[in-house]
């Protein structure tokens, strides 16, 4: 967990999505720090989280991650939190805000999707077979990575040189944990939870997003009572990287009114 910005400012809690870690926020954080107390963390199983905290059963549902968010809020005594959840963390925030509404002043759902898989009239954008294909993609890529990455993540002090040979210094994950997280992420269906959200909510989506297309963002917006929506003229699933200024502006604008 990283805390930065104004100690006495309103709290922004930033939660990264599947595939990376808290480094995802690096381009928006400098702007957010000017006005807010910015709290970032790595989900268990990602980045520099403690491998000993990993539990495949607990993290087989998004509720396990939502429990962690609430635990972080309680531990750090965070109040009136504006939770910013990217990708799958948007739904983690939805679940956390339903569980403890008094903890949250606002929810920012960045490129959210309540359900990635097509179901009847609902277009999530993917089939179950597509998700299996992603898991294969993960396997073939971690094949090259795992040898160099796993020991670092597992804390292997006898072989420090491994740390320097990392292919990627960001977004480290243990392959086994990533696989479980992928399953949890892409096979969750939280459509029914959206109507339960009583926290003021902003949906931020991109004009072109292969993972959470605009109609999915609109679905989230329509189902969460009183929510607002901003569509950024950006491409990709990670506007905090591809359009950091516009993303930060939308977050600041929303959070300043809380």
């Amino acid at each position: 967990m990283l805390v930065s910005g104004r100690e006495d400012g309103p709290v922004l809690l930033l939660a990264h999505g599947f595939g990376c870690d808290l480094n995802m926020w690096r381009l928006v954080v400098p702007v957010l720090e000017e006005r807010f107390k910015v709290v970032r963390f790595d989900h268990v199983g990602a980045g520099r989280s403690d491998p000993a905290a990993w539990d495949p059963e607990r993290y087989a549902t998004l509720a396990g991650y939502a429990d962690d968010v609430l635990a972080i809020c309680a531990e750090a005594e965070l109040r009136d939190v504006v939770f910013v959840g990217h990708s799958v963390s948007a739904m983690i925030g939805v679940l956390a805000a339903i569980r403890e509404p008094e903890r949250f002043a606002g929810l920012v759902l960045l490129t959210p999707s309540p359900c990635y898989i097509d179901d009847g009239d609902y277009r999530g954008g993917f089939s179950r077979a597509d998700i299996e294909e992603l898991l294969d993609s993960l396997d073939s890529n971690y094949l090259g990575w795992s040898a160099a990455m796993a020991p670092v993540i597992m804390g292997n002090p006898e072989r420090p040189e491994l740390g320097e040979e990392l292919t990627n210094s960001f977004c480290r994950t243990d392959p086994k944990m990533a696989r479980v997280f992928a399953h949890t992420t892409f096979l969750s269906d939280n459509r029914a939870d959206l109507a339960e959200v009583g926290t003021p909510t902003l949906v931020i989506q991109c004009r072109h997003d292969a993972i959470a297309p605009p109609e999915v963002g609109r679905f989230v917006h329509e189902r969460i009572p009183g929510s607002r929506m901003v569509t950024l003229d950006a491409t990709g699933h990670c506007p905090q990287l591809s359009a950091p200024e516009a993303t930060a502006e939308a977050i600041v604008d929303f959070a300043s009114r809380r």
Binding site: E133, L134, S137, G144, N168, C238, L241, S242
Partner: protein, 437 residues
């Protein structure tokens, strides 16, 4: 058959045509005329340039051929991610693109291209962000290499990997099941006694050689044993099984502790002769109700009992520890007891222990005393430290004693590299005594 390198020593070039004909001007001219443009177009890998949002702006002929698409179909009309399978696109959005933005480059990523005719081509992708003079990112350059062979090899490797995992799991299940058959599933409840046990398994794949048991005799007395067969694994498990059932049968035949160990010694000597001797250490005990309460040697132990008498015999085993009711501890050795199964006429002696209310007898295998103390990898925990530990612990009931030793074992961490079995028997204090302190 023969090595084809080097010039033809005769200079004649008798057929073949493989040897470089020295001074062939035409070849050099052809090499010199190989242009950068042609190298780009027909390189042995695909080249792709895209805008920062992935829109294709330039692509080489190699890649258009692989994809089975014309340049017009691609340039300005498609993004790099559109060339990938759906799973690959998900991977691209969640891993590839974020890392490329943050690092400015990313290499050796395995993806699959989807050609116009629906076929898939496994490739390795490397991308680099080209920046302008002011450091601002301008475009993304990507090279794509054919990885069909590598992928086939990886698929095989993954399959082998999964097979190994499955086999290991099967082995561990087998070892755990076998281990369980060597220990009582739950300790019998002995009237008037509190009993507790703990077994630390050092390795999930290898069956340990430690064992214990506690069982009633027909006349109301009880017997127990705890021991350690030399070695580990399947061979040791077979001996453990033999030892356990022999001890139970021998106890029925003649429950005198020395007789039980002598009979076990005879069986082991008969069973494992010659160059495959198998031996073990054992401590065996016979529990008799306290003569003071129910008369000498008669009647079962009852909760009213004032205590009990235990006759111990041991062969080559570390001494039992008595945690006294009034505090303090003492070893109860059985001097001269020899390893069981080594020589035909092994000698065993007995020691008699009075267990008062509040007293507890603690039995253990050398996994406990041989554990290495953290911080000083050379130092074994040892009997002396165990004695101090027990003395500080006493008085303690059987459950409390086993719990304390379990915590002690856990504190050794990696220093505990052998199996360890713990068995404790205690006479609970009567409530009146407890009330009196």
């Amino acid at each position: 058959m023969m090595c084809a390198s080097g010039a033809d020593p005769d200079g004649g070039g008798t057929g073949g045509g493989d040897g470089p004909p020295g001074g062939d001007v035409a070849v050099f001219a052809a090499l010199l005329e190989d242009s950068a443009e042609d190298l780009y177009e027909n390189a042995p890998c695909g080249y792709l340039s895209t805008l920062l949002d992935g829109t294709i702006v330039k692509v080489n002929a190699t890649l258009t051929t692989w994809l089975g698409r014309s340049r017009e179909e691609l340039v300005g009309r498609r993004r790099f991610a559109d060339l990938l399978t759906v799973g690959g696109r998900l991977y691209h959005e969640t891993h590839f693109a974020p890392l490329l933005t943050m690092q400015g480059e990313i290499g050796g990523v395995a993806l699959e291209l989807k050609a116009a005719d629906g076929t898939r081509l496994p490739v390795l992708v490397t991308s680099l962000v080209k920046t302008g003079g002011d450091g601002q990112p301008l475009l993304i350059r990507t090279t794509i290499t054919d990885a069909r062979d590598r992928r086939a090899y990886e698929v095989e490797l993954m399959r082998a990997h999964r097979e190994v995992d499955a086999e290991r799991e099967r082995l561990q299940r087998l070892a755990t099941t076998l281990q369980r058959t060597l220990l009582p599933p739950t300790l019998s409840r002995v009237p008037g006694l509190e009993v507790a046990a703990y077994y630390h398994i050092a390795s999930a794949d290898r069956v340990g050689g430690d064992f214990y048991d506690l069982f009633p005799l027909a006349d109301g007395r009880w017997a127990f044993f705890l021991g350690d067969v030399c070695g580990k694994g399947v061979a040791a498990a077979a001996v453990t099984s033999l030892v356990r059932y022999t001890l139970r049968a021998a106890t029925v035949y003649d429950p005198d502790p020395v007789a039980v160990l002598r009979n076990l010694n005879t069986v082991l000597n008969h069973e494992y002769q010659g160059d495959d001797p198998r031996f073990c250490t054992v401590i065996f005990g016979l529990i008799s109700p306290d003569p003071g309460s129910d008369g000498p040697g008669s009647g079962p132990l009852t909760p009213d009992a004032l205590g009990c008498t235990i006759v111990l015999a041991a062969g080559g085993h570390p001494p039992a520890l008595l945690l006294r009711a009034d505090g303090g501890a003492e070893f109860r050795p059985t001097p001269g007891g020899q390893l069981v199964g080594v020589i035909p006429d092994a000698h065993f002696t007995t020691s008699t222990v009075r267990l008062e209310p509040g007293g507890t007898l603690l039995l253990y295998t050398d996994g406990l005393t041989e554990a290495r103390v953290p911080g000083s990898m050379a130092d074994r925990f040892g009997e002396e430290a165990l004695f101090d530990f027990a003395a500080a612990l006493a008085p303690a009931g059987a459950r409390a004693a086993v719990d304390a030793v379990t915590d002690l074992l856990a504190s050794f961490g990696a220093g505990l590299d052998d199996d360890a079995a713990i068995l404790a028997l205690g006479v609970p204090r009567r409530s009146a005594e407890e009330a009196a302190g």
